[in-house]
């Protein structure tokens, strides 16, 4: 009964989404303002219906209702309850429901937050979001109904994919989807701008907080995903350049570019059409990601079970949405080309222009690398693989300049900066960065290498120069810094921390396969690993062979590690659980291979210096986004509608 209720709610959500999409347009065309007002209540109604639908599915999982096919395929009575709830988004149908549920959450947020916006703008934004939502609801109802029943109901479910039975599963997908879907808001604002023909600083001011929020969620989601992969996959890696990872990374790169170009458009009123294009691109890449993950065109570790019909539908939807947006863009964008104000290379807008070029080209490189195997096959050039070595080689030269630019971010003033100013303010951070970058690997790890030092100098440069700005501002004014500035600083520090982590872990990270018998010790990377044997354990829905290891350093035992091989009974899958001793400067990471003769096991030991800095950097950047978002300029009731006055009032705050 409850699944049918969920299904019905989904149908009603579709009806409301269509209302939300169509009636405002009708009102707009016919100049009937009363129709415009329908959008917000429809969005709320849709949210309620999707929430109901989502809860029905969650309840079906909680209550082990295996007469629902989706539940039977992705759950099991032995599964702990929190994984049963998380299993709602464990496969294609349910994750789609989560997608739409989050989209309608954003819609409701927009409906409430934009009450101070002109009625035509807010309802146009909601109409665009409603049509995206309708597209996905139709897709779900016709090709991927999560509530489909199976008869007779199996007595036991087939269990959630063991790979997903990890705490990361509970948080990572919702965060990532919040980010993906959040860019729909920026997209809707861009389409609205194209329709109404207005891109003024009021528009950028509305769009910025939404973009920041989406970016923050996406950053958190990607970082969590990387952390999860490191913990769960048992390969000691944090990023694999897998097509599905790339699918989330491309919108992140373009979204980052969008945040920066929005700043320019707001402050200087230039690059308007470019900003609009970026907003469209960011969301288009989210849709593209959805296609790549769910269509099976590429081989990936993380892809959903795929089916060609779904691929065709998503591709058509992608074509229609993105195609029509870009045609609209081609028709309407030329009218934004009004600004003829000069742009200096040595100015903040010049810097941000460069930032945008590097970020967008980096995103294009990821796209090219991800799709090239299809292109090569299509052109009859044979089957080729494009993997991590390619991306590492191409991506580093494209992004290293970005980190160099970060250093100048706070020093560059709008309009024009004299070279002397740059020199006088940046020599000290540069010197400090070189000192820190050279010393850091030596002091913490006792080794050196050209690439590692270069990376550390680069990372320290981003950190030190960002902090220099804060120090100078605090000394200068003794006032509390605007949150936006603090957010920017924190995000840039995050990038620096990330860069240091990446360069040190890739320069000095190492691993080794060893054969270990109980009682045997191995010295690796200065640590003494002793194997004490393997013991059978029983989990809720698996049996585990858990290894017992001690790690000693300088003759003192510092850690007990328990890497394991788990056998999930219902799905008959073997999973590797790693044993990790984490630390600020290094992780020691063990994973069990296979049993060998005489109770010995093949064991892989990983030494991962500074790997935590990678995620620390990601979380810092996300926190920076949150801080900037909390700036009161976004939360003030927007009394001033006239763009000129808005601009005048902000220029003093954070010029």
């Amino acid at each position: 009964m409850i699944p049918e209720l969920g299904h019905l709610a989904l149908v009603l959500a579709l009806c409301l989404a269509l209302v939300q999409a169509i009636l405002p347009v009708y009102g707009f065309v016919r100049s009937r303002p009363d129709y415009l007002g329908v959008a917000a209540p429809a969005a709320v109604g849709q949210f309620v219906m999707l929430g109901l639908s989502f809860c029905s599915l969650a309840y079906a999982f909680y209550a082990n209702d295996f007469s629902v096919a989706y539940v039977a395929e992705n759950s099991n009575t032995q599964l702990p309850w929190f994984y049963r709830i998380a299993a709602v988004w464990g496969a294609h149908e349910g994750s789609l429901l989560l997608w739409m549920m989050l989209l309608s959450t954003w819609s409701v947020a927009v409906a409430f937050a934009s009450r101070s916006l002109p009625r035509d703008v807010s309802s146009c934004v909601l109409a665009v979001m409603g049509s995206i939502s309708s597209g996905f609801l139709i897709f779900t109802l016709f090709t991927s109904n999560p509530f489909a029943r199976v008869f007779p109901a199996p007595a036991q479910g087939r269990d959630l994919n063991p790979l997903l039975q990890d705490p990361g599963m509970v948080f990572h997908p919702p965060m990532l989807y919040m980010g993906y879907v959040g860019f729909c808001v920026a997209f809707a604002f861009a389409i609205t701008a194209l329709i109404t023909g207005r891109v003024d600083s009021a528009w950028t001011r509305w769009t910025r907080p939404w973009t920041l929020a989406a970016w923050m969620f996406l950053t958190t989601g990607i970082t969590l995903g990387s952390w999860w992969a490191y913990n769960e996959l048992g390969w000691g890696g944090w990023w694999f350049w897998d097509p599905v990872e790339n699918a989330s990374f491309m919108p992140w790169l373009v979204g980052t570019a969008l945040i920066h170009s929005l700043a320019v458009t707001e402050k200087r009123g230039i690059f308007k059409s470019w900003t609009v294009l970026l907003a469209i691109t960011a969301f288009s890449l989210c849709l593209l990601g959805t296609f790549l993950v769910r269509s099976g065109v590429l081989i990936s570790v993380h892809a959903f079970v795929t089916n060609p019909t779904r691929g065709i539908y998503i591709l058509s939807f992608f074509g229609v949405v993105v195609g029509s947006s870009l045609v609209l863009y081609a028709v309407r964008a030329p009218r934004f080309e009004a600004g003829t104000e000069p742009v200096e290379v040595l100015s903040r807008e010049g810097l941000l222009l460069l930032n945008n070029i590097f970020l967008v080209v980096a995103a294009a490189a990821v796209l090219i690398g991800t799709l090239y195997p299809i292109l090569a096959a299509g052109l009859g050039l044979g089957r080729i693989s494009v993997g991590p070595p390619y991306f590492d080689k191409v991506f580093v030269p494209l992004t290293a300049p970005l980190v160099v630019l970060i250093g100048a971010a706070s020093v560059m003033a709008w309009k024009r900066t004299r070279p002397q100013t740059l020199r006088s303010r940046l020599w000290l951070p540069l010197l400090l960065a070189i000192i820190v970058g050279v010393l850091l690997p030596w002091v913490t790890l006792g080794t050196w290498g050209v690439a590692a030092v270069a990376g550390c100098v680069l990372g320290s440069w981003a950190i030190v120069s960002a902090l220099e700005d804060v120090v100078r501002r605090v000394r200068g004014s003794r006032l509390m810094l605007p949150r936006q500035i603090m957010g920017q600083t924190l995000a840039h520090v995050g990038v620096g921390v990330f860069v240091i982590g990446v360069s040190l872990v890739s320069a000095f990270g190492s691993e080794r396969d060893v054969r270990m018998a109980p009682g045997q010790s191995v010295v690796f990377a200065g640590y003494n690993f002793t194997f004490h044997g393997v013991e059978e354990q029983k989990g809720p829905n698996y049996t585990s062979q858990t290894g017992e290891f001690t790690v000693a350093h300088n003759g003192r035992v510092i850690s007990h590690l328990h890497p394991a091989k788990r056998h999930y009974v219902e799905s008959d899958a073997l999973m590797t659980e790693s044993g990790i001793d984490d630390g600020v400067f290094r992780d020691l990471y063990l994973s069990l291979g296979e049993p060998l003769a005489d109770k010995a096991w093949s064991v892989r030991i990983y030494y991962r210096p500074f790997v935590r800095w990678i995620w620390a950097g990601g979380f810092l950047a996300a926190l920076g986004g949150l801080l900037a978002l909390s700036d009161k300029r976004y939360w003030r009731r927007q009394k001033v509608r006239h763009s000129a006055r808005v601009r005048a009032s902000t220029q003093t705050v954070d010029a």
């Binding site: 469209i280 593209l288 691929g311 074509g319 993105v322 863009y329 081609a330 299509g378």
Partner: protein, 177 residues
């Protein structure tokens, strides 16, 4: 310079065409790197007797179907009858390469499911399989009378593929001198 605003739409149109093409193919099926190349040399003991050997020379002088299989492979069971049928309908001898298997298991398997093979080479270590570019069993190769690989099937042979491709190909190669 209004053409600039059209570029994104054109790029996306290209992208959609590319992805649409991508949907039509199976990314997990690989063409062999060995098509139109001489079959890799091998010299292995036969499955029947460890002291008897079978080598590349058995491929010379006539068209051969080479079928790589193992008793632990479920899909091999499915295609076994079809392999027999192909051999009967075309008269082409089938060389079996028993891949990473145990002698006893393999023999029992043949006794139970039928033996379509003229001779079976016993590739315990899987080295010959690697030389032939085998990624996962079953795989089947069409080798012409000069010992050149002309066609490869990845995975179990289906009836459709047998009728549409394999049998015509084998017959055509038999007729060619």
């Amino acid at each position: 310079m209004r053409w600039r605003v059209v570029v994104p739409a054109v790029v996306v149109a290209g992208l959609v065409v590319l992805l649409g093409y991508g949907l039509t193919r199976q990314p997990s099926i690989l063409p062999s790197a060995l098509i139109n190349k001489p079959a890799p040399a091998f010299n292995l003991p036969t499955l029947d007797a460890a002291d008897k050997r079978v080598g590349s020379d058995v491929l010379k002088g006539h068209v051969t179907l080479v079928n790589v299989w193992a008793s632990w492979c479920v899909a091999c069971r499915e295609e076994n009858d079809l392999v027999t049928e192909i051999s009967q309908r075309t008269g082409v001898p089938v060389l079996g390469i028993n891949y990473k298997d145990k002698r006893g298991d393999a023999k029992r398997w043949l006794a139970r499911f039928g033996n379509p093979f003229a001779v079976v080479a016993f590739d315990r270590s899987g080295q010959v399989g690697i030389d032939w570019g085998v990624a996962a069993v079953p795989e089947s190769f069409v080798v012409d009378r000069h010992g050149m690989i002309r066609y490869k099937v990845v995975g179990a042979i289906t009836r459709k593929e047998m009728n549409k491709v394999l049998i015509p190909k084998l017959k055509q190669l038999q007729q060619a001198s």
